[in-house]
């Protein structure tokens, strides 16, 4: 009887450990892994992380914190999380003129990066689901294709 209790306790502990490990594993991308194959969103985020490193991290920094008074943060950025279409447009066509992010006004120029619509979608999914950001609605290639350059 005692041995059975011990076994049960061990199993319970192992289960808790597994759950904890799993949640740690996913903490960077905030995606719940409910099956073995990566979801379309997870795959897009993964591709997006490579794009981010090569095209964005120099100014927005590896953890999305940006650079004070020069480049707005992406981590916990109200602009990114609330202005989805404007954010896609900025990644696709570049950004110029004043924008307000988390109450701070920025006025730098981000040149267009020459990314394909798929790359824009991937990097958007990465930045929308990193560093504490979370967005369940996946950015798709079709959504990016519909975003047109702003005519001033």
């Amino acid at each position: 009887m005692k041995e059975a209790n011990l076994l049960l306790s061990c199993l319970a502990l192992a289960f808790v450990g597994l759950v904890v490990m799993q949640s740690f594993k996913n903490r960077d991308i905030n995606v719940t892994k409910d099956h073995l194959q990566p979801s379309a969103l997870e795959a897009s985020i993964q591709r997006g992380s490579v794009i981010y490193e090569g095209f964005c991290a120099r100014c927005h920094m590896p953890s999305g914190e940006g650079v004070k008074s020069a480049f707005p943060p992406l981590a916990q950025s109200d602009y990114l999380l609330e202005k989805r279409e404007e954010s896609i447009r900025a990644v696709k066509y570049g950004q110029r003129g004043e924008i307000v992010v988390n109450g701070v006004t920025y006025n730098s120029i981000m040149s267009p990066m020459g990314l394909t619509n798929e790359e824009v979608a991937d990097v958007m999914n990465y930045i929308l689901n990193s560093w504490g950001n979370k967005s369940d609605a996946m950015v798709t290639v079709e959504e990016v294709a519909k975003v047109k350059k702003q005519t001033e």
């Binding site: 090569g54 095209f55 120099r58 590896p62 020069a70 110029r96 730098s108 120029i109 267009p112 020459g114």
Partner: protein
Amino acid sequence: MTEPKPFVPGWGPVKVIFMACLLGTPMFWACAQQKGVKENTPEIVTPGKQTYTTETVVPGLDIPWGMAFLPGGSMLISEKSGTLIHFKDGKKTNVKDVPEVYFRGQGGLMDLELHPRYAENGWIYLSYSSQEGTGKGGNTAILRAKLEDDRLVDQQLLYKGVPNTTRGPHFGSRLEFGDDGMLYFSIGDRYNRDENPQDVTRDGGKIYRVRDDGTVPDDNPFVNQADAKKAIFSYGHRNPQGMAKHPDTGEIWVHEHGPRGGDEINIVAKGKNYGWPKITYGINYSGTKITDDTALPGMEQPFYYWVPSIAPSGMAFVTSDLYPEWKGNLLVGSLIFQYLERCVIENDKIAYREKLVPDIGRVRNVRQGPDGYIYVAVEGKGIIKIIPN
């Protein structure tokens, strides 16, 4: 301001672990920075009293990269987006038949340089990212052409880095003629530091030296080495975006972007290895180490390095009499801190650093015009002239 709360004994283990994680992250970063690496010295000075004013001479530019002053007072300006502007009598005209640029990441239409005997032969040199050749993506190209009725004519492609790659960063681009009449130019490592900079059989991470027509001079350092790229003059560079000929010695000075920290000034010499990525004073963007070494035998030490990075772009020596206090000084633009750095050189060292035009915007280029004035290309603004009081 509230006083920080003192550490209270009796905190639960969760809080202790939480605190340890909080403290651990910056400590880990600090450890990854190499030992003995100095913060930028001497400390940069912002003078209380400004001895100059500024005037925007060409407004309304996005990312002005190259500037070339034509005889007669007009000016060519390249925009990264691919537009070549002829600015004459206060009016911008877009030059036609500009080569098609590979529009990706840090690439675009980049530097401009006139032939030292431009008045006789009319050659204008351009660098740009190009898809020329085989393979997906692009690499840096050097071309010369002449300006005729605001068109680029007689175009000759002088050099094209290979292979093409879709990677966005590190095209290099700067052009400068030496006293030897040779054209020096930079191609960055194309974000392939493991393969390109240390291998002279590959393009990227190099300073090149060619004749004005693009042919390779017989006295280049690797002309006799099988498989080497014969145009290479020096190697082990990362992404040089500043190049200027020293007015007295004629040496070619470059500066290059480091990774996180470790921007460098190098005086390039024939066949020398400047070490990237085997030695560097910088670390990865993520905070992890690139190498333990800041010095190794057979590799050159930088003339100066910046930790933290200023993201240098554009480089010029002041030779004009209009700025007697600045004569002989080195000017370097800072993209990240948005000023122009004035460096006073004494005894082969930077003895004094000063911030000019603080907070002006991302400084992409600086040149001294034939009229003796200093012109600064600022992103989102235009070309700014510095006028001494």
